[in-house]
Each structure stands twice: as structure tokens, then as C-alpha cells.
Assembly symmetry: C2
Homo-oligomer: 217 residues x 2
């Protein structure tokens, strides 16, 4: 499957799903996020077994295609392959970047989570297409995630050349500070998925990203 | 990767790993089981993330190759691909048989767990190469597994044509009764993995299988 030519541009508002058990509710929130302007969706389902993960993945693939958004699957490379995702996002303990590419092929977009400068540099050497860097701020979605902080993010931005998506506790209130570091985009879970109006929340964040990128250009 | 010509014959003593955290201990037990006569190993690691699962898988692939044994990976089709397993074993909630084959190719050996006659017939229609049927007896290894029982096993044996490996609570004391049903092999977890001497335990079970198959021929 071909990588979209403008995939880097589609990292700008990157929504990661939560683990809610109800599929209809999950897909409604994803559809609302896309309608509001999310440019990428990562399906993250640590609790689901393969069959259900594939079912959800096929549904999210349909939604993201309708909106021209990127679709990444968290962790499960087999699921990413089967649902024709644009790629996979792997953590430090997941299947290695190069191994993921052996399954998905050279056009797959492979993102790697990096908490520290050392992890970020290693991921770049390993051929990651983008880095998910964080947590930038403390977060309730992944309470076990290490804190990179704004200082860590700035250090990584000075040291790597691959696109960086910042993640962890990003909201409309602190997005401008994050975007000022020169990141390609911001990733959010609860700021969109748990919002009373996920569409409006995505639209507000998308405006902030677009304004920051316009000011930078 | 080519399917071994005698793969059906290698279903006879099928050892499924336990979830012990220590890799050295796990690999020692697998090596002992193979030395004792295990003809197939299934690596089942529900607690491990992808990177570690791949590491263990590569080690088990090496051991099984040295002994000419089959190697199946439980659940994770991506891991099965990366470690060059002979195939994958999937449960009813895992990636579907046909989807697994899309990743692994036509030569991969795909086993499907079946607890009931309906599941067994469906798995055969879906193109499963063999069925793992059970639990034949109550078991501590998978306390949540449904009980198929000897009656259920006999019914399935009359109704499907694919090879059947019986699993669940099988020991040297009840193996003859199971083998008399005409199964291609028996699968065990604790009877070998938790044995004081896994090599001797595997050797004893292997003798029982070989005797039963010789008597049948
Ligand atoms: Ni829509």
C-alpha cells in the first residue's frame, strides 16, 4: 500500500483512541474527531484480542479513508497489515521498527514512542518515520508513561531530523507552547476522546495547530 | 517457508509452553521436552509484549529446528512471521484463520482451538490445518477453558476430517483413552512443562503416543 505523499502534513492533529469497551461509542468519537479536523488516528486497544481488534480496525480504516486521514495501529503489526492501515505505532517493548517493516513493506509509516533523547536517537537510527515523544505533561491516559517534559522535548527536537509528534497531557491550553518547539503535530487521547463534544475539541486543537504552523512558515 | 512434508506426523506430542517469566527456565524446559521426544512446540505467551515474544520465538525456533520439531506461535501472527515459525495457533477470539493465512502464506500451518462441535466444523470450513480440541479433562493451566470432555472429543472425531490434537488435562494416566479416539496427537502444558523432569515426562508420553498409533495402524 502506498504511503500518502503528504503524510508528514497529516501528523498535525493525531488522535489516539482510548480503551472504552463499547465499539459504537468508540467509532462515534473517532468519526467526530475526524469531522472536527483530526488528520491522523491511532487505534490503541491493549485489552482487545485479535479478532475484535481487526473488526475495529476495519471500521476505523473506513472512517479515516472517508476523511483522508492517516490511520496507524498501535502495537499489533498483524492487525495493521490486515486492516490496510497506513502503518503501525510501536513502543519500546513492542515489535522492533525494522521487524515491523519486514511485515508491512517499505511504504508503511512506522512511528516509535520515545521518552528520552537516547530512545529518540535510536529510533531514528532504526528507521522510524516519525517519533511519538512524551509524556510532555503528566497524563491520566497513560499514568505509567515516563515524563519527558517540555525540556526533554526541546532537546529531542534539536537532536533528531525525523518528524516528531508530541504526546502526553496536551490540551488547548498548553498546545501553543508545545507547537512552538517545532513539532510536526500534537497527539491527544482524552482531550478529544473524553471531551463532551469531541468534534468541537478536535476543531479547536486543529485551529491551534494550523495557526502555529502558519506563524512558523 | 515450506511446510514440512511430514507435518501431520509431527502433531503427535505437542507441547504448549507455560507463562513462566524466566526465559532461561522456559527455554531449558522446551529443550528438555524436545530431547524427550516432543514433536511440536507451541509458544504461548499472553503476558509478553512483542519484542520479548519475538526474542523467545527466535530461541524456540532454533531449538525446534535442531530437533526437527514443528514450531507454532500462539495468537500473534506477526510474531509467527518474524520468527519463521511453521505456523500459528489461534483461538476463537484471535485473528481469523483466513486472515492469518493472508499474512503467513499458503504453506503456513494454521491450527484453531475448538471446544464444541460447531466450532470444530466451522474451523474446518475456514481452512484450519488442524484443530486443537478441548479441554478434554479439567485443567489448571487454562481454568477458563470450556470442557469438551471425552464425549465431545469423540463426537468431533466422527464429524471432521482435519487432524485433531486433543488438549486439556492430558497426562500419562489418561493419554491412552484419548489416543484411542483416533486423534493425531496430544497436547500438554503442565504434564511436561511442570514436570520435575520434563525430558522424562515427554519421553513417557511420546512412548504412549507411538504405541497407540502403532496399535491403530
Ligand atoms: Ni464523517
Amino acid at each position: 500500500m502506498m504511503r500518502p505523499a503528504d503524510w508528514r502534513d497529516k501528523l498535525r492533529l493525531y488522535v489516539v483512541t482510548d480503551e472504552r469497551p463499547d465499539a459504537d461509542s468508540l467509532l462515534s468519537a473517532v468519526a467526530a474527531a475526524l469531522a472536527g479536523g483530526a488528520t491522523a488516528v491511532q487505534l490503541r486497544r491493549k485489552q482487545d484480542l485479535g479478532r475484535r481488534f481487526v473488526e475495529l480496525g476495519r471500521a476505523v480504516r473506513k472512517l479515516t479513508r472517508e476523511h483522508g486521514a492517516l490511520f496507524l495501529v498501535n502495537d499489533r503489526v498483524d492487525v495493521a497489515f490486515l486492516v490496510e492501515a497506513d502503518g503501525v505505532h510501536v513502543g519500546q517493548d513492542d515489535i522492533a521498527c525494522r521487524d515491523a517493516r519486514r511485515i508491512l513493506g517499505p511504504d508503511a509509516i512506522i512511528g516509535v514512542s520515545a521518552e528520552t533523547l537516547a530512545e529518540a536517537r535510536q529510533a531514528e537510527r532504526d528507521g522510524a518515520d516519525y517519533l511519538g515523544v512524551g509524556a510532555v505533561f503528566p497524563t491520566g491516559s497513560k499514568p505509567d508513561a515516563g515524563l519527558t517534559g517540555m525540556g526533554g522535548l526541546r532537546e529531542i527536537m534539536r537532536s533528531v531530523n525525523v518528524p516528531v509528534v508530541a504526546i502526553g497531557g496536551i490540551t488547548a491550553d498548553n498546545a501553543a507552547e508545545v507547537l512552538a518547539c517545532g513539532v510536526s503535530g500534537i497527539a491527544v487521547v482524552s482531550a478529544v476522546m473524553s471531551a463532551a463534544d469531541p468534534r468541537a475539541a478536535a476543531a479547536r486543537l486543529r485551529t491551534l495547530v494550523d495557526e502555529a504552523r502558519a506563524a512558523r512558515a
